[in-house]
Symmetry: C3
Subunit: 445 residues, 3 copies
């Protein structure tokens, strides 16, 4: 009896798979790029940040040119980049890497070099870079696909998203770390190469590294170190970002990633995490006692546990507010996410990482936003402080979390009481659903 109708779900699954592929194909055929390409149009500046998809060569000069001609002209109009190339290993190699090698020689068809172009010589580094994708997000190679071409970014005003793309373009070009046209390995070994992007909430790597004892030693003495040396033990008095995160120069930066950026609670005792932990201990013992390294990592576990207790307390308060339908304004009284059809018909407040990170970014009621800031800024700041050895960042952010928890408690009480008196019946809900800014977003994205 059971086997007779087995073909029904089977056929349905096959149809669903085919339809799914069709849908994805259709989505990606918009003017944008990626899975949400139907929902946004590229901005001209993206030709520089996402050159693979959008670069347009200037049409001011015509002709197929040779190296000598490139240099002759650009020494006059942009001498800085010529100087940089001359100082680079590209110009000094026996078989020099020249302008046309990376940009092409037809000036009307010039292109900006993609990671693939660089990878045609630097195969090892490029392969390692691509390998990050195996470990999922966060990673450099997925920085555009998974974080920028995403529903919560599609909804934000483009002028703001451009700020994100500027850094996330690390996925599409190599000069984020090795600045043009010297493309120096020595440069990328220094922490400044990383912190152009890795700074500010929610990823204060800059602030926490430079406040740590490691960072302070680097600040004092770094200028005297020999940066041509590889990132191996004994070569540097103190570590830089790359020393710890890119052992021996490996371009797969996530191979020791364990705490998932602090964004969700992890179980530090899974067998895979024990493997990752031993990788950390190995790196730390370049300088420190192994048991000291282990103890530091345990301190980080404890800090995380304490942070998550606070976050879960806040989430549980928010859930009781939602259970009582007491959010103000409620999800249904706010503009919906244009990219989510589902949300339009079944609006729902989403609480915490597992119900959807995207929902928390904007267009939320104040108590939700308070939790978002507690989770995304204070919690992540505390994590980075604990991971990088910046004590004051841990203290400051745990105090901030204590404070947020109290604010949320008190705010929740007010909301629950408000609900009882049914005060919201008299409220001007239009204040939330209409207005210049809402209109502006609707029209300009």
């Amino acid at each position: 009896m059971r086997s007779r109708y087995m073909w029904i779900p089977l056929i349905l699954v096959i149809i669903a798979i085919v339809a799914g592929f069709q849908y994805i194909d259709w989505r990606q055929s918009g003017t944008g790029a990626g899975l949400y390409s139907h929902d946004w149009s590229p901005d001209p500046i993206q030709r520089y940040w996402d050159p693979v998809n959008f670069y347009k060569a200037p049409d001011t000069i015509q002709g197929v040119l040779e190296m000598a001609q490139c240099i002759q002209c650009h020494e006059a109009i942009t001498p800085g980049i010529v100087n940089d190339w001359k100082a680079s290993r590209h110009s000094q190699a026996t078989e020099a890497v020249t302008c046309p090698d990376c940009h092409g020689s037809d000036h009307e068809q010039l292109h900006l070099p993609t990671p693939e172009v660089c990878g045609s010589c630097h195969t090892k580094q490029h392969t390692e870079f691509l390998d990050e994708a195996r470990h999922g997000f966060p990673s450099h190679v997925l920085a555009m696909d998974r974080a920028v071409d995403a529903p919560h970014f599609v909804d934000k005003p483009k002028a703001e998203v451009q700020s994100c793309v500027q850094c996330h373009s690390v996925a599409t070009k190599c000069d984020s770390c090795h600045t043009r046209h010297r493309f120096s390995a020595a440069e990328a070994r220094r922490s400044e190469a990383c912190i152009t992007c890795h700074s500010g909430p929610p990823h204060p790597d800059d602030e926490t590294y430079f406040s740590s004892a490691h960072g302070q030693i680097y600040l004092q003495e770094g200028d005297e170190w020999d940066w041509s040396k590889p990132l191996q033990k004994g070569n540097y008095k103190a570590p830089t970002c790359a020393y710890c995160h890119m052992d021996e120069g490996r371009h797969q930066v996530t191979e020791k990633s364990m705490w998932k950026f602090g964004i969700k609670e992890i179980n530090p005792n899974t067998s895979s995490n024990k493997v990752l932990r031993e990788r950390w201990v190995k790196r730390c013992t370049d300088c420190h006692e192994p048991q000291q390294a282990r103890q530091w990592l345990k301190e980080l576990d404890l800090e995380r546990k304490s942070a998550w207790k606070k976050l879960y307390s806040a989430e549980s308060i928010l859930r009781s507010v939602r259970f009582n339908d007491a959010f103000f304004p409620a999800a249904g009284d706010r503009p919906t996410y244009p990219s989510s059809t589902w949300d339009r018909y079944f609006p729902r407040e989403r609480i915490g990482f597992y119900e959807g990170q995207a929902s928390a970014f904007y267009n939320v009621s104040p108590i939700e936003r308070d939790y978002f800031e507690m989770w995304y800024f204070e919690n992540l700041g505390a994590y980075k402080g604990a991971a990088h050895g910046d004590k004051s960042m841990v203290t400051k952010n745990h105090e901030a979390m204590d404070n947020s928890l109290q604010q949320i408690k008190q705010h929740a009480e007010t909301l629950l009481k408000r609900k009882d008196t049914e005060a919201d019946k008299t409220t001007n809900k239009k204040l939330w659903l209409e207005g210049e800014y809402t209109e502006f977003n609707r029209e300009n994205n």
Copy 2:
């Protein structure tokens, strides 16, 4: 008929002009300096910050002294400044610039050199510096007149205003940028020379420049660059403040000023702004493609547009609160601005730049302060982030503005409801009009 009484308004205008000049003369004859000199008395420390008006020579040493005597004595008591002078071009010139040249030779009549003293040799730089005044505020040369000798500063406790004067003294002395007694051009070419003042809210130039790719390259490699070279293309791998804002060393820093500090909305398409924009493009193309430069500037326009949409939304909410007379405490229930007779009799909440920036600085109700912070800190932080290429500053401050807008919305609803229930009738208004701090200000300014 019309011409017969023409003399009446004419005479009135003439009387008004004469009276106006008399009034200004009287205002300026107080113990302070400038148009508000009747309203404040100088603090002893101002002898160093505003030496033109207030410096008093020490009376410990008598006599007219020669260079050799200055050196002989000061090598013992303040060897550092002698060392600096010896390392300067002043001491190494064929005809050395000596202590008496700048300070005079009568020790009881010593003076601190003003811009005019420096300008007697450095005519080009001094003329350019004075030329900033043509472009109005903000400018260095007007930094004292228009920002510190102003009603909203007269009202603030002097101890706090001194913090402002410390930087605004750039108008009255040259060692803000060329520190004494080396007065090095190489020093002033580096960004540190500027950011002693240009940091912190509302002008996070320090934070945003050093977080940008430009700043990070400077931090890494700047110590190895040859700073004796002029600020011209090809001489530096990355720009500093002066490279972009003081082309070729021009001391007229506002000649490319277009967005007016982010403080009010500008129309980027006026013909004069198109001229300024082309100046920027010219500077950027020392290194970048012209269309890339143009696109960056357009991104900045878009960021500004998005910011102003948010600010106008908030202003419109505040105006509806004022229309309903629902501010709490209302303008009339707060201490008035001592320097404004008009405000005393016709107290009024002022919203936004065009109704008077001054009013927003302090002594406002919480919702007004929230808007002030949104406008003056968050908006200006976002602007500097977008202008200097610090992405995380844009994201952070736009999120802060979104948040502020929500807080203001919700706060406005509470105030409007409060008004309906006439709750304020029972309020202890004295809490606002009296109190230690209010008394303290009244007595100590």
Copy 3:
């Protein structure tokens, strides 16, 4: 008559003294260290931060070893520390200071060098360091006893307190400032040596020094200075932390301490403070006019006076809330401080420095926390800004204090009205007394 019963209070006093000593002895015999040792247990990481009390040598290697053996092995496993020792004066002295001299030679009994170990050679510095204790708190030598082994830290989750210990361990080891294994004096003369700890709220020494004119000159030119020179006048163009606070290298850093960290109001005109002030003037006149130095110090007095007016206004509002029993939640409705038996039976809100700093750290109602932040973060930030010459920090924090004062005023009004309507009768007090986080603390400390 009076003399006949004189023995009663005398005997009672003697009994009390003996009992007191017994009590202290008992308290100190816990698993922790210090007066509160019964209330907390050490965390394994403390073996590195408080090596005197808790270090445990690794048991991986056996045997009594000689210097050559240490080097031979550690050149392979931790070459960095061997390189550092080789570059240090310890290795280059005629009679070299070797590994066993500081760590012992039995590998199973290795110890980390305490200040006493270093002091056996560097007697002058060690004596000066110990001498700080005479001046009371804050001081380096008491950093563990008085700040970390204290009731308000015993109550906090250990994971957070570890952040504090990391810096406060300056009391128990010398490599906080002279990093191992070079232990360079030149390193400790630079400001980075201090700011590894002296940064962030409530002690933004890092931020304020580096934003000052002094700090900016150091940032620009410091790398070119000869750091082997002693901290004497004429040797450095601009001062570092140590130049001003450790005259000529004196390791007694509190010998000019006058404003008590900004934490309570001081009378700047006591005769002892006049002595301290003249010490400052003497140091400043290495470079500046004496009257300029005096004036700067007076500006700091004025800034402090203005700050305290604001703080006292806030305290007076809080006291009126307490007088009306209107705090919400009230002290009795909140978890008590586990270390204070007294507080358990007589719960009381404590307002300001003199009623107990400890109470303000956490577990307070929002209005109390607002005052704590005003006092501990904003006030102290303004103080450091004024003391170190960072203008924008003064402005920013005084604005923040104005703002806090307003928030507290408005919040107080709400609380007082709330009390009148007896709203709290209906409140779910359990929200405060129970919950995951409260439970977590109870169990895990």
